[in-house]
Symmetry: C2
Subunit: 361 residues, 2 copies
């Protein structure tokens, strides 16, 4: 009897030890981290909305299921422009949006999407990853308990759709145009009347003459909206030469992840971002080709040099005002200006020279 | 005695089962896969050599040490242009090199680095990832038991250093130039004498007049070689508008990896490739700025339109010959031509229009 009890006890001890060891090992390997992401876009938004889906899938696959990311679109959380606050507060762990949406709240977030007359996409990626841009972006977001990463680029944006041709600064006086944000401020200073209008009302507003012009994104997005049917002039780029979206991360949620999952997450951001850029190039090229076939009467125009020059001057004046008011703003503006000057000289002698001298026949 | 034996047996069984369970679980989580990579470049080659180092580090970190990649540079394996064979045979699991090095062995590998008058880097990435390029590349490499992935881009290559100015086709007659590969064949057809010379002898050959001209890469690589001190003319791009390197994988080694490590490896390739591209842009921009300051007498020139036009015609003729001889070659050439036409129309109205109308003041 005594011997039998001893056996039972021994067996029990061995079993518990084995179970504990097994479970500890399995736990380290298998612990699942569930993160919630809020995106600014509506459900199934092409290109913009693909970025976080691709990111979540890749993070899941590379972590063998240990990173599970749930994506809530704008229809779910009802706060498309509240992503910054929701990730800051920890209501969401992650966000996918665009940095310049927060300029009313944190003015220095303005500089990490795209600047009028600024860097194009690959120039800007070089600045982010090799020219100090990432460090400056973290400096802006850190006080808000947030990390920010490039979140995918929608490629060069077109200058927008106009009902009348723009031949001079005079043609812009009183012109009602949907052009929000910083570019809108620049536009106002040359005499135009910028407004913001909800996406769902854009077509009707332009059709009925509530506005005279609008900018949206580029051919891949614009043609779905039907603007080519109601405005004959399509202008080339000046105000968003490489619009970068962003992945936002709550710092506390980040700190809870083991090192390998942090790197898997950051890498998934990076691949999804780069993938969105190639997707946007491809979609723009396809849409552009279609537009030239289906809408041969669309008149594609550059803004006249005098108009561009005035807009550039107003942009410079605004940036000087921002730099004078805020030390970190000055640091970012100077960093971008220095980098742009250097990288554009190379772009001009490489990309531009090649495009000039080697036009496809 | 009988009872005691039964106890011993039971204990032994439980212990073995527990140990097996523990070890199985730990093994799944911890099994280390050691892969060997051969690169074409010498040890510590900047930019080109950083790609596989960055890739191996990232794969190691994301896999929590389960992927260990050893890199052998050319000084170790002694076969810089033998990477294809060594990975095909399984002597190495991975390679980092450039696809057009194998055109003598497998002619259709030619198309996956860069083509004269072809796509620029981001256009080509869009073709790889969205335009069917990846699928065509696998079709070429699959019969050799290999997988191939984009391995990083060295940015637009300059047209090279010349001792005399090129004003006409006549100036190219008999001109001895280091320009290897397909571009060299094009060059030969317009009357020049292309040669290949080992990197270590390039400077002396140009200095002593053994050759009249050479192309190397771009400012980031060229200035280290000192060509700016012995050749006054630096020509803009035509022959390699976006040279992509490649990661090669032995198919059997790939098939042995669990799914999550395959995805981690593929993702590490992709990030390292994209990172090399931003690094090359940054390094070229920095070197270009330095050259303009240190060597203000360098004369930067575009080839005359008539010269470019003849070279383009010869390139077209060569490609027509290749297409006529090989069905897969025809499929790739057609795919690239169709994609280039579409994407370049968009590049011209976006990138080129922006660069034309918004030059940095």
């Amino acid at each position: 009897m005594k011997s039998q009890n001893r056996v039972k006890l021994l067996l029990k001890t061995v079993a518990i030890t084995a179970l504990a060891a097994f479970s500890l090992s399995a736990q380290a390997a298998e612990k699942v981290y569930r993160l919630k992401l809020a995106e600014t876009w509506g459900p199934n938004t092409p290109i913009l909305g693909d970025a976080s889906k691709n990111m979540a899938k890749l993070a899941n696959e590379m972590s063998n299921g240990r990173l599970q990311i749930r994506i809530d679109s704008a229809n779910k959380h009802k706060a498309p422009l509240g992503v910054f606050d929701m990730v800051k507060s920890g209501q969401y762990d992650l966000g996918h949006s665009s940095s310049y949406y927060w300029k009313g709240k944190v003015p220095n977030t303005l500089y990490f999407s795209s600047m009028p007359f600024g860097m194009m996409t690959t120039e800007q990626y070089a600045w982010f990853y090799r020219g100090g841009g990432m460090e400056l972006m973290q400096e802006v977001y850190a006080p808000h308990n947030l990390l920010s990463f490039p979140g995918g680029n929608s490629d060069i944006q077109m200058g927008g759709w106009f009902k009348k041709e723009i031949n001079s600064i005079e043609d812009l006086q009183g012109l009602k145009m949907r052009i929000p944000g910083f570019a809108g401020e620049v536009f106002a200073r040359v005499g135009a009347k910028p407004t913001n209008i909800a996406p769902g009302e854009l077509y009707t507003s332009l059709e009925r003459g509530t506005i005279d012009a609008l900018e949206w994104v580029g051919p891949a997005f614009d043609l779905r909206m039907g603007f080519q049917n109601i405005a004959p002039y399509y202008y080339t780029a000046w105000h968003e030469p490489g619009s970068e979206t962003q992945f936002l991360v709550n710092k506390k949620a980040w700190d809870k992840l083991p090192k390998d999952l942090q790197i898997i997450l950051e890498t998934s951001f990076r691949v999804a971002a780069f993938d969105m850029y190639t997707q946007a190039i491809d979609a723009n090229a396809t849409s552009w080709e279609k537009m030239l076939t289906d809408n041969p009467d669309i008149k594609v125009r550059d803004f006249p040099p005098a108009v561009l020059e005035r807009m550039r001057q107003e942009k410079d004046t605004l940036l000087e005002e921002f730099a004078a008011k805020d030390e970190l703003a000055k640091k970012i503006i100077d960093s971008q200006a220095t980098y742009l000057k250097r990288v554009r000289a190379w772009t001009d002698i490489s990309t531009k020279a090649y495009l000039d001298s080697s036009a496809v026949k």
